[in-house]
């Protein structure tokens, strides 16, 4: 084998099996920085927790706090496009879902779609959904529910399902 072939072959071998060049020199520095980044992440998470508590206390006091969460029924094939929520006839939330968000809902995630304040007593919530069924047809459904807001914070879970699931299209649950 000629010298030229040998030189090129050595290059080839170096190319296939990960280079260990200047990168290694900085590996320790990167490791050290990584440790510090982990520490600062931890600090910022603590700040976020404290800030969230403060924000909730300041903006959504417990006696008027209302939060509405949206989930998809188990194994749901409905491609949810949008959800609109009206509380006592007033628009409260209007959300258009990205593919990532829809996937997150299908994986069992629950989206907090609305957080606000509401007086204690009787109220009405109207939930409308738009989506596409597995066969490609458009699907729209809307339903109104009455609910009572007591002194404690109200967490309302809305579970959505398509017409093929055999489940009610919209179920309301209290948590």
């Amino acid at each position: 084998m000629s010298r030229a072939i040998l030189v090129v072959l050595l290059c080839l071998v170096a190319g296939v099996f990960a280079p260990a060049r200047a990168e290694d020199t900085y590996r320790q520095q990167m490791k050290g920085l990584d440790e510090q980044v982990q520490e600062v992440k931890s600090d910022v998470l603590s700040i976020a927790a404290e800030l969230n508590q403060l924000q909730e206390r300041l903006l959504y006091p417990s006696d008027s706090h209302l939060a509405v969460f949206v989930a998809l029924s188990k194994g749901e094939t409905l491609r949810l496009d949008a959800v609109q929520i009206r509380i006592d006839g007033q628009p409260a939330a209007n959300y258009i879902y990205s593919f990532k968000e829809l996937e997150a809902l299908q994986k069992g995630g629950v989206q907090r779609i609305y957080t606000g304040n509401i007086a204690t007593g009787e109220h009405a919530i109207e939930i409308s959904l738009n989506g596409k069924l597995a066969n490609g047809k458009d699907y729209t459904y809307s339903q109104q529910f009455a609910f009572t807001k007591a002194v404690a914070p109200k967490l309302m879970g809305v579970t959505l399902a398509g017409p093929d699931s055999g489940q009610p299209a919209i179920q309301i649950g209290n948590w």
């Binding site: 072939i5 090129v8 072959l9 290059c11 080839l12 071998v13 296939v16 099996f17 990960a18 260990a20 060049r21 200047a22 990168e23 900085y26 520095q29 990167m30 920085l33 990584d34 440790e35 980044v37 982990q38 600062v40 992440k41 931890s42 600090d43 910022v44 998470l45 700040i47 976020a48 927790a49 404290e50 800030l51 969230n52 508590q53 403060l54 924000q55 300041l58 006091p61 006696d63 939060a67 969460f69 989930a71 029924s73 188990k74 194994g75 990532k100 996937e103 997150a104 809902l105 994986k107 069992g108 995630g109 629950v110 989206q111 204690t120 002194v151 967490l155 879970g157 579970t159 948590w175």
Partner: protein, 629 residues
Amino acid sequence: MARSRHVLLSLALAATLTARAASADDLKDLYFGEAIFEAAQGRYFEALERLDAELAQHRRVDEPERDTLHYHLATAEFDVGDFELDYRMHHRAGRAIKAVLEANVDDVIRNEAAFRLARIHFQKDQPEEALQALERIHGKVPDAIRDDLEFLRANVYSALGRPADAVPVLKKLQAAQNLKGFAAYNLGIALLQAGHSPEALQQLDQAGQVASRDPATAAIRDKSNMVLGRMMLESARFDRAQQSFDRVRLDGPYSNQALLSAGWADASAGNYERALVPWRILIDRDTTDSAVQEARLALPFAYGKLNVYGRAALLYGQALDSFGGELEKVNTSIRSIREGTFLKALVREEIHQDNNWVVRLRMLPDAPETFYLTSLMASHDFQTALHNYLDLEDLHRKLVTWQGSFDAFDDLIRLRRANYEPLLPEVDAQFRELDSQMKLRVEQRDQLRKRLQDILTAPRPELLATADERIALERIRHVEKAIAGVSEEQRAELQERVQHLKGVLIWTLRTEYPQRLTQAHKDLRELQRHIDVLTAQYESFVRTRQAAVHSYVGYDAPISRLRTHVGSALEQVDMLEARQGALIETVAINELKARAERLEAYQSQARYAVADSYDRATKAQAEAAGAPQ
């Protein structure tokens, strides 16, 4: 080489782990579901924020079994560790999992925790600690992790330089579907390291023929063929080498290297004509790829060997032009990085929309520096550094937003104070008046209730007399007193009439007593209803009054504390971001300089070869012209 294999094994392991998913129907805790929602979108900071808060609250409650998170506690404890890992917080993840390990939990949970801890140590290049964690596994192992656990154990043995221990473990995993390709490749490498070369070659050959459409399995199959091909090439078994390189997909990550190597296998066997085929394909590919650049030299080299010097000279000339252009591109990239363009390109929002963002960096306009950095950017350490940089940028944005929100909070509190404080004294005065009236009415209700209660045991019909009857009775008593002063003849008659009247009244009171008692209880209940409404209004007022005060009192200290924390965290984040950015730039520039040096070497080689080829071509032409007819 050891390091690259280690990283590959980690990636393989991560790829085989299955994500756990809940569903809305089983969900009992909305905030836990919210954490899953965030994590499923790769928003691990937000996921951790929710889940940390929920777990902290769960630990504070007096009766945790009545808390909704109780139903998901085991999953949540693991998920928080997973999210921390995904957010590259290995230390915290390790601590969380150690806490599970040290708690009084059953075998299945403890073993899964030990597995996860071992995985963290392995990913952090700590194989000794990983093995210690694995040695804590006893008893029942969850089915879902059984294969992954054994695969990890084998990888840990290999990383510790104990390939002989890894071999039997990997042999048992050959049928595991989720490890298809990876277990076969790792077994080949372990056999090789353990000194069982013939068996290793056979194993790599098998790994190189694993049938699968899964991209990860296909990639490891290509990798197996590359390793086997290289070994065959080194031992001068060119046909076998050729066979392995031919198995590598033409559109996979190893395709360029495979084409280059296939050419060298032919060239090494002296079959230069066949070597032309892969190299011709290769030179039309991405010019920034090192294999393509090498092929630009290899192709004219083969033509030279075939005595086609004119063609060789032409191709060397083209290679020279190409290297010059690429060198210019590399130098532009170095300048661009020094000007900070690379870091600016990294933080562009649009490139983080999918998992292939590193690859997509190449397509960014105005970012020439990314052309030559794909392989560097694919390396584990550099990716960690890039991710850290992006995380720091994200933290920076969050902290700056929070800083702004404190001013908004201050405004809100000031406005609320200005609104409520002047109103409260008057409201309080009115309330005190109403409060005393209400107390009086409540006392009266209590007296009535007591009186009715007493009547039940000792009936007193006169207490249920109507107002008219009470007046009449009173007048009768007056008349009775007045009669005492009249003459005796008149008195007897008057007394008889008074007794008659009194008798009528007493008769009414006694005969109507049961109905009146029932009515009195009904009235008392009615009164109670009114008092209940009044009490609810009273309590509502008290709450509203408290809420009004709580809406602006008691925030100064926490806001001031948070403002300080956010300020110092921002300083720390900015400092780390600058250091991380500088390090990324330095490593990237070094990589580009290495590529520039290689291009310069190629350039010199091509320059020499082009002249040499022209000489030979001229000589060959002269020889041909001078040859006897």
